[in-house]
């Protein structure tokens, strides 16, 4: 019948008609761009060759691939390699090198990965912790990103108008080593390296990692829906009520980004039970939910700021004791298909990745450790989430390996860090989540090795190691009990942000995971300590006393106290905490103390699910460095990676880099 049709055959309905017309446009587009690319190729090739000739040395390799496994402990890796449970890393070690790598002081991801990418100490890149103290207001701020809005004028008189425009700026100083490669005609693909948000321009592609916010502007806040309000308050998430509807279902509102009026834009959700499953309807999506299992990514559209803001989330439903549903929604990730903030360079790189591989987690800290800690999701759901994020990352990484045949490919996987944080107490014996994680990371190493050629160099590294965290050390309480921090009359405890601290009598305060700051006159808003000798003596006094701090059983709590002047140098060293407290294994700065709280006890048990950590004395949690080439890795430092990579590509490391090339002496020239 279709063959017999005459005029109608060219157009059978608008839907199919549009599809057919656009399909032909796609065909034409593909052919035209391919032809243009082929025509331009000789020109770009010549340009690249000219740039490559600028290299100071003969390149040892054509491409360097860096596989960052956040928190991979060299001790555990070595043990599992010896037991034959990490055969690929063992093979890499045998072929090239494997060693412990000194991390930064403190050994915290934003600090260590900043030093990795710049090749300098924190005093030169300005990142000392997750949080940076606002010394004028005594409140914590994010150390790596500054967001705000500024007044800008546009147009010409009389049509000039003033508007407030948001801005996002990266606070990490110095320059990542991949920024240098452009001059030499080498392209880079940088995937999810911490402290790359907002993305900086480079010759290649970059997808930002740690510190990318969610749509609410936080570092990740999940939403928990239930009919009954949870008894305990919880951090890291929001609670919203599920209301019973007439049809026997439930409904609720999922809050998203703030509107200009300061109230959150939200989308409606409705939930229906269907036998042993649930169906959720949100933003025209109908999703079937199996209790205990995470849904696929669901795109949500919020109306805020005069336009549409798109985010993605995943749902998981469970039932409480009364049989009522409890619905968990992950943090509202920025949609990679339509990002509301820049998360990649070029901006459409994230769209490309999402187009090829499907939507993926864009949030900096995507694995929801708070939800597991608070009991909003089970350990199984958390692991499902962590491994699906790992799978997404793996796809992107292999895509980069396929499409970037020369230059640099860097990809950081966070799954290793998150799983160790949450399951450390279960050990790393066979069958434990940590053991499985190490084995899967080894599988990733093996898969990567199989995809590389003879002229590629593979570096497998971690920014720090891991150890236990069983006891919290409330440094502010310690400062209070020792008379360095004073509370206003009648105040016994401070929940957060130093509310109730008498600054006129306070001489020292602690914020972040390891830092102690003096309340220095001229630097802090209400400084009480005179710079110079008084400050110096105070620092020595605090250090001495801290080193004597002991637990009830006589265990020494502090391994070392570092004065900022001793461990940092550079133009931003003065922004560092004055003292960095290096606790022993098992002891870490207390939860509320990190954000400016003052608890009731100096030492108290860590009762949270988060029971593994690396925020201790950095010498106790070294990172891992494995390479497919022989390296002189004795005493390797995380700042050595950048110069080593540059040397491998035939580029002389710039003068400001502090690390050294790890290639043996005879190979350096």
């Amino acid at each position: 019948m279709l063959l017999a049709a005459s005029s109608a055959s060219a157009y059978v309905g608008p839907g199919a008609g549009f599809g057919i017309v656009t399909s032909f446009l796609v065909f034409i587009n593909a052919i035209v761009v391919s032809l243009i690319s082929a025509l331009l190729w000789p020109v770009s090739m010549i340009l690249r060759l000219c740039r490559k000739r600028r290299r100071e040395f003969r390149a040892k390799v054509r491409r360097v691939v860096i596989l960052g496994l956040d928190g991979l402990s060299p001790g555990i890796a070595r043990e599992l390699m010896d037991r034959g449970e990490m055969p690929n890393l063992a093979r890499l070690s045998h072929q090239g090198s494997f060693a412990e790598m000194r991390t930064t002081c403190p050994g915290i991801s934003p600090v260590a990965w900043s030093s990795f990418q710049t090749g300098v100490n924190p005093g030169r890149h300005g990142i000392f912790d997750f949080l940076a103290p606002d010394r004028k207001r005594y409140i914590p701020t994010l150390s790596s990103v500054k967001t705000g809005s500024a007044t800008s004028r546009s147009g010409i008189w009389p049509f000039r108008r003033t508007a407030r425009r948001p801005f996002i700026s990266l606070l990490r100083r110095s320059r990542p080593f991949w920024g240098l490669l452009r001059r030499y005609g080498l392209r880079s693909t940088i995937l999810r390296v911490p402290i790359t948000y907002p993305p900086e321009p480079l010759d290649g592609h970059l997808l930002s990692g740690m510190c990318v916010p969610d749509l609410r502007g936080t570092q990740g806040s999940y939403t928990l829906f239930s009919c009954e309000k949870p008894e305990d308050r919880f951090t890291g998430g929001l609670w919203k009520e599920l209301l019973k509807t007439e049809g026997g279902g439930w409904s609720g509102e999922l809050p998203g980004p703030e509107t200009e009026e300061g109230v959150p834009a939200s989308v409606d959700i409705s939930l229906q039970r269907r036998n042993d499953r649930f169906t959720i309807r949100v933003c025209d999506h109908n999703i079937e939910l199996v209790p205990g299992e995470l849904s696929r990514w669901v795109e949500l559209v919020f109306r805020a700021g005069g336009g549409k803001v798109r985010g993605i989330t995943r749902f998981c439903v469970s039932e409480d004791d009364t049989g009522s549903p409890v619905l968990y929604a992950t943090a509202l990730n920025v949609s990679p298909l339509s990002p509301s903030v820049p998360i990649s360079h070029p901006v459409h790189y994230c769209r490309y990745l999402a187009g090829i591989h499907g939507p993926f987690a864009t949030l900096g800290l995507a694995e929801d450790t708070w939800a597991l800690s608070n009991g909003a999701i089970s350990a199984g759901t958390f692991l499902q989430q962590a491994w699906s994020i790992f799978h997404e990352r793996e796809m992107m990484f292999f895509d980069a390996l396929r499409n970037n045949a020369s230059g640099l490919v860097v990809c950081v996987f966070d799954t290793s860090d998150r799983i160790q944080h949450m399951f450390w107490s279960e050990g790393h014996g066979t069958g434990t989540p940590i053991n499985e994680m190490y084995r899967r990371m080894d599988g990733l190493v093996g898969e990567t090795m199989s995809r590389l050629g003879g002229r590629d160099m593979l570096v497998v590294m971690s920014d720090h190691g891991f150890t236990s965290f069983h006891t919290c050390v409330d440094l502010n309480r310690w400062l209070l009990e020792n008379g360095y921090l004073v509370l206003e009359d009648g105040v016994r405890e401070v929940e957060t942000s130093f509310k109730g601290v008498d600054w006129s009598r306070t001489r020292a305060w602690s914020m972040g995971l390891a830092g102690i700051m003096l309340n220095l006159r001229g630097r802090e808003a209400l400084g009480a300590v005179e710079p110079g000798i008084e400050a110096q003596e105070l620092l020595e006094e605090i250090s001495e006393k801290l080193l004597k701090l002991e637990d009830d059983d006589g265990t020494k709590v502090v391994n070392a106290v570092y004065a900022a002047g001793e461990v940092y140098n550079g133009p931003y060293a003065e922004d560092a905490p004055d003292l960095i407290v290096g606790t022993v294994k098992g002891y870490r700065s207390g939860w509320s103390c990190v954000t400016g709280g003052v608890g009731q006890r100096v030492l108290y048990p860590n009762e949270k699910r988060w029971n593994g950590d690396h925020c201790h004395d950095h010498s106790l949690v070294p990172g891992t460095l494995a390479c497919s080439m022989k390296l002189d890795d004795s005493g390797a430092d995380i700042t050595d990676v950048a110069p080593t990579v540059l040397m491998a590509l035939g580029i002389r490391p710039p003068f400001y880099m502090e690390g050294r090339s790890l290639f043996p002496e005879e190979e350096r020239e």
Partner: protein, 271 residues
């Protein structure tokens, strides 16, 4: 064939009757807009929307892949290949809605063609009628042509080689006329006074299934010794929009597409 064809015509007569008082352009415009929305709704119901969305996303990624790796011809070619493959899969996804919609679309198309495609006979404007005989032409003296509501304009041209007879007729009024050739009776021009009624542009005494899609060709009773079929040279209707001359197909395609686009947005249809 006759009853099916007659039922279909009656159905469309009833459906389009409310628009009969409107000028032909406005009637056609409304029908086009409703058809666009109707077809996009059917497309949504029949197509695999999830799959189409997935393929569109993937093709978008592959186009961006070409743009992002434009300096690497090998990668560009790989993405171009993948794009063509995805596109082929996408086209195969359109096959089901295409097949489902083909029959109703062709029926609608034929009915609109019959009702809005041509004017009826104009007064004093001659229309050429060509009549086809199956085997052999009757002798000139055996040829009997009678008209009601129109006058015959000689000569009667007989083409022996093609077994055809041609002559001209002139309408006496704008009302429908009837033709009788050797016992076979057929209408010419409008079948009703209202806009949107069928305009007969031929007849067929040996109809096939295909005649369901061409309602402007009247299905008539076969008479021994009578002609097989015939057709009339009626002028196509001209629709003037902002001084531009549009055929009914242009009006229908453009406005049904526009309404389909709006409907797709409103109904959130992925196409």
């Amino acid at each position: 064939m006759g009853p099916a064809s007659a039922s279909l015509n009656a159905l469309f007569d009833a459906l389009l009757y409310p628009l009969g008082g409107l000028p032909a352009f406005w009637g056609l415009l409304l029908v086009s807009l409703l058809s666009g929305i109707g077809m996009i709704a059917v497309f949504k119901a029949v197509s695999d929307q999830e799959r189409i969305a997935d393929l569109r996303r993937r093709m978008g990624g592959e186009i961006l892949g070409i743009l992002l790796h434009v300096s690497s011809p090998g990668t560009v070619l790989r993405f171009a290949g993948r794009l063509i493959r995805s596109n082929t899969v996408y086209l195969s996804c359109l096959l089901k809605p295409l097949l489902v919609m083909a029959l109703p679309f062709m029926l609608v198309w034929g009915q609109l063609e019959a009702r809005y495609g041509a004017e009826g006979m104009e007064e004093q404007v001659p229309v050429t009628v060509t009549v086809q005989f199956r085997d052999e032409l009757p002798a000139r003296e055996d040829m009997l042509v009678q008209l009601t509501g129109a006058g015959l304009v000689p000569p009667l041209v007989m083409v022996q080689a093609l077994d055809q007879v041609s002559f001209r007729v002139v309408a006496e009024s704008r009302a429908d006329a009837e033709l009788l050739v050797n016992g076979t009776a057929a209408g010419i021009g409008r079948t009703g006074e209202w806009n949107g009624s069928r305009v007969l542009r031929g007849f067929d005494a040996a109809p096939s299934l295909w005649r369901l899609f061409t309602p402007h060709v009247q299905v008539v009773r076969r008479v021994s010794g009578g002609p097989d079929s015939g057709w009339y040279s009626l002028e196509g209707r001209d629709y003037s929009i902002f001084g531009w001359h549009w055929s009914w197909t242009a009006v229908f395609l453009v406005f049904s597409m526009l309404s389909a686009l709006a409907g797709a947005r409103f109904l959130r249809v992925r196409i």
